[in-house]
């Protein structure tokens, strides 16, 4: 658990049993879009999607820390969801803009789970404005979006584009099925699907832009740490579960007539992993708290949380396979899935290397 408050603990326990059930229904598949849609609506009904949306727009305004508990539970059960970049970042960027009727409708739709929204901070896109029908401007978009996990299923993708000429950067919310959107899907080693979206002269109307080209708009990058800490919480959950399962194996598995966990060599390896799990837990808690409170240190702590949690997850997963012995190498056993996930999970927030150098830059600034 990554919180000590009673409410958060209750939320974490509810989320844990929710994702346990979801994982069981997946029966070993990594992706099941139909099930994701059903479950996403259930999450909306539980009030989990609108935690960063105010009550006027169908949200619960519970905050980032609450979402963190849910992200941790999803990580524990290896359930891939658009939580970090959807209920987290997409909701945050919508809520940060002045509420036009179109924007309000999107917030309600996100909180209700009607449409799946995903925000992609890693985009290289440009927009230009051409006169449209009835004098309303039309935006023409081109570029590449390196989309986070499970963006393949998103109905609406939010990203930032810079103007071809004069003007300010703008955030756009574009239907994934728009004409001119090409999606390249790549199935990864853990079964997750990595999506690259190419925009070829995608025409969208005024409402697709979240702000106006002349106004100073909220920046996606300024909010990206919401997605970063949630990804870190997910990684921590996955690492903690990998460790718990390994500990159970050390206790249950007998060789030479004794539980293998009674051998000091293995005890020490488990204890070293326990140290690193606690370090990661502290980083994730501090990151969630700082981002929740909008502290200046939020960016540095979010990058710390991502880099440490990702590194700890990798280490724990490698050790887990070794400590499970031959069992850990079999496709049938779940522990190998955690190993595979440990290498892919940090791509969504941008990778360990990116966050390490971002941490250094922010610390030395």
């Amino acid at each position: 658990m990554i919180s000590t408050s009673f409410e958060d603990r209750m939320l974490g326990e509810a989320a844990d049993s929710f994702f346990r059930g979801w994982a069981a229904a997946m029966a070993g598949q990594a992706v099941n879009d139909g099930l994701l849609r059903t479950k996403w609506r259930e999450m909306a009904d539980l009030g989990w999607l609108g935690m960063l949306i105010d009550t006027d727009h169908g949200g619960t305004a519970y905050g980032v820390r609450g979402l963190g508990q849910i992200a941790e539970a999803s990580g524990r059960h290896l359930v891939l969801t658009p939580l970090a970049h959807g209920a987290g970042l997409a909701a945050a960027i919508l809520a940060a803009h002045p509420a036009t009727p179109a924007l309000s409708a999107r917030m309600r739709s996100l909180a209700a789970g009607d449409n799946i929204y995903v925000a992609a901070p890693q985009a290289e896109a440009e927009y230009r404005i051409i006169p449209g029908a009835a004098g309303a401007p039309t935006y023409v978009l081109n570029g590449t979006i390196d989309a986070p996990d499970v963006t393949g299923i998103a109905d609406e993708v939010i990203f930032e584009a810079r103007p071809t000429g004069q003007g300010s950067d703008l955030a756009f919310c574009v239907p994934a099925q728009s004409s001119g959107v090409e999606r390249r899907l790549q199935t990864m080693v853990d079964g997750s699907i990595r999506t690259t979206m190419l925009l070829h002269d995608v025409h969208v109307d005024r409402d697709a832009a979240l702000g106006a080209p002349d106004a100073s708009a909220p920046k996606l990058v300024a909010l990206a740490d919401i997605a970063n800490v949630l990804s870190a919480a997910e990684m921590f959950g996955a690492a903690a579960e990998t460790f718990d399962r390994t500990l159970a194996h050390l206790t249950d598995r007998r060789q030479f007539g004794v539980p293998i966990g009674s051998f000091q060599a293995l005890q020490h390896r488990a204890a070293i992993l326990a140290c690193r799990i606690e370090l990661a837990r502290s980083c994730v808690i501090a990151g969630l708290d700082a981002v929740e409170a909008r502290q200046e240190s939020g960016a540095q702590l979010a990058s710390l949380a991502v880099a440490i949690s990702a590194d700890v997850f990798r280490q724990v997963a490698k050790e887990a396979v070794q400590l499970h012995g031959g069992l850990g190498m079999t496709d049938e056993h779940a522990i190998g899935k955690y190993l595979k996930r440990s290498r892919v999970i940090d791509l969504a927030p941008g990778g360990i290397a990116f966050h390490r150098s971002r941490y250094a830059r922010l610390t030395l600034a």
Partner: protein
């Protein structure tokens, strides 16, 4: 770069207290008068009777003003809490106010040549002679024994089947006849560590703290305080990333093939682990504030293990960052500050319970892994 406060600028108090500056003495007296050397102890025993929250405010203000600690003392951090928990009224009244005011300086007599990690093998004997205990034996690694007024120690009062039984936790005056102290020279040079020899040293039996024969319980509780204070204390001479990077960038001569880029990367990786550890320390400190919560042994062991590791990596990096120059002896044949600290840091994973012992504690008490005896 900030190095640890030099030992001669710390205020240890005691009968023969040495103050490096008159203001240090005034500072101690001002603070002790308010009970702020032991903020959370009851007022009647020289404390200020503050709650945990109030003590934290005091601590924060002192940090903000960059105040030096008025008094550094094993009495404050280790023996005091033990006396509050296990001491008789008479013992509390007799020792606690003197500790809070810095009038007695304490040392800790636990380790022996044959009782290091295996602390339960303590051989130093205490034989009853009416109301007196007669001590004979040999303690080692006793920090500041040559400067201490009193010692709290673990002595064997009976031979029992289990080595943990039959030990008592005893307080004794270091000026008692029959005690000989010899300082130990370390790989890092002169040290604060000593050997202490006892030959028929007569100590009043009323100086036993807790139940006679059950000193192991008292000592274990004290070791938890020791680990916690080791884990916390190391934060005081902290170094920031900027300082390490400046050292790396400014180093005049690095050996051929050394990449500054690789060194900087290593420094960043270390700093992130160090930052994570500081966050963990804060989290455990908050847990420890709650009197209802008994911090699991595992947490203090995790802090102790990680602190030693991080500290050692820190001095390894600084040694690499400053080049062969810091390995050279000066004209007086002395080690450089960095070399001395680097060598000294190797002891961090040995003192106060080795890293291996910490891993044992984590595995057994926190993770609940089975021990060999039970599994047969």
């Amino acid at each position: 770069m900030r190095l640890p406060l030099p030992d001669d600028e710390l205020v240890w108090g005691g009968r023969n207290a040495v103050f490096w500056h008159p203001d240090a003495k005034r500072w101690l007296h001002l603070m002790a008068d308010k009970g702020w050397t032991a903020p959370q102890w009851p007022k009647e025993f020289g404390g200020a009777g503050l709650t945990a929250e109030e003590a934290e405010v005091l601590d924060e203000e002192m940090r903000r003003l960059d105040c030096r600690p008025p008094l550094k003392s094993f009495g404050l951090t280790m023996l005091g809490p033990i006396l509050l928990q296990y001491g008789t009224e008479e013992q509390k009244r007799r020792y606690l106010p003197d500790i809070a005011a810095g009038r007695i300086r304490w040392c800790q007599g636990f380790s022996e040549p044959m009782a290091g990690s295996d602390l339960a093998s303590v051989q130093t004997r205490a034989i009853h002679d009416e109301d007196t205990l007669v001590i004979t034996g040999h303690k080692v690694w006793t920090s500041y024994a040559h400067k201490a007024d009193w010692m709290y120690c673990l002595v064997r009062t009976a031979r029992e089947a289990k080595p943990q039984d039959g030990m008592s936790f005893l307080l004794l005056d270091m000026s008692t006849p029959g005690i000989r102290v010899e300082p130990i020279q370390l790989i890092s040079g002169r040290s604060i560590f000593c050997e202490v020899f006892f030959e028929n040293v007569r100590v009043p039996a009323e100086n036993v703290v807790g139940t006679p024969g059950e000193g192991w319980t008292v000592a274990k509780s004290l070791l938890r305080h020791e680990r916690l204070s080791i884990a916390r204390g190391a934060g005081q001479d902290r170094v920031e990333l900027r300082e390490v990077i400046d050292l790396i960038d400014g180093a005049a001569s690095l050996p051929i093939g050394t990449s500054r880029e690789a060194l900087r990367d290593r420094a960043v990786t270390w700093m992130m682990e160090e930052h994570a550890l500081r966050l963990l320390q804060q989290r455990v400190a908050v847990l420890a504030q709650d009197p209802e919560v008994d911090i699991p042994d595992g947490y203090t062991s995790i802090l102790k293990y990680c602190r030693a590791k991080s500290n050692q990596e820190r001095w390894d990096i600084l040694l690499d960052a400053t080049g062969p120059g810091s390995l050279a002896l000066n004209d007086q044949n002395e080690l450089s500050a960095i070399a001395r600290n680097w060598l000294r840091a190797r002891g961090n994973s040995i003192e106060g319970g080795t890293s291996e012992i910490q891993l044992n504690i984590i595995a057994k008490r926190m993770l609940g892994l089975p021990s060999r005896e039970n599994s047969r």
